[in-house]
């Protein structure tokens, strides 16, 4: 049903497709904030090794607000899950960082083990040696 609906909408026009991509029409996933998604795609923000988002270059106040908001929410989730797993916040966050860096798509930014910003390629990302 959902797929048919999406296909039907996609068939209408390219503009509709672009609008869907921006607004996030896929019902299966909760979508990223459009500003965050755009910044991520543009390489303005990247995944840090510690499980949080970082700025690759200078960031506008608007972008900062979005990213800080996400990092606060991430921290809350990490804290809750860390407690449930008898781990520390830092342990859970770093583990998440391993997973998140692995999940980056080609072109997106991530932090290498030395702290430098890297652009994800088709190859496996450079990760901490402890990452699974």
């Amino acid at each position: 049903m959902a797929r048919n609906l999406i296909n039907a909408r996609f068939g209408t026009s390219l503009a509709a497709m672009a609008a869907l991509a921006l607004l996030g029409a896929n019902p299966a996933f909760a979508e990223r904030d459009p500003a965050y998604a755009a910044a991520r795609e543009a390489g303005q923000v990247g995944e840090r090794v510690d499980g949080y988002l970082g700025y690759v270059g200078p960031a506008s106040p608007a972008l900062r607000a979005v990213v800080e908001d996400i990092n606060i929410k991430r921290k809350a989730v990490y804290a809750q899950k860390a407690q449930a797993n008898n781990a520390t916040l830092e342990e859970y966050a770093l583990t998440s960082g391993c997973v998140l860096i692995m999940q980056t798509k080609p072109g997106e930014k991530y932090q290498g083990p030395d702290g430098s910003w890297q652009t994800r390629t088709a190859a496996a990302p450079l990760r901490d040696s402890r990452c699974p």
Binding site: E31, D33, L94, C98, V99, Q103
Partner: protein
């Protein structure tokens, strides 16, 4: 933290080497601690600079392996913030 002690130690040694160059016998013993205090020991500011990654060194690989599956699940379920 451990690493940052090394430069401080080296600077202290450099200072005492400098004192020796001025003539060891001419310096009263009481001046030596003062000279060390006025030397590099106090002005070293390297430890003030936080190294973020250093904090994570204490986290062991086995812990990360234990948490990895749960973390992946958490990321999937909260995809709007990841």
């Amino acid at each position: 933290m451990t690493r940052s002690h090394n430069p401080a130690t080296i600077r202290c040694m450099n200072n005492s080497a400098g004192n020796q160059r001025l003539g060891r016998g001419q310096w009263p013993v009481a001046v030596l601690p003062l000279a060390l205090m006025m030397g590099g020991c106090i002005t070293v500011k390297a430890p003030d600079k936080p190294i973020v990654i250093e904090l994570n060194i204490n986290i062991k690989q086995e812990v990360i392996y234990r948490l990895a599956a749960d973390a992946a699940q958490t990321i999937d379920k909260n995809s709007e913030i990841f």
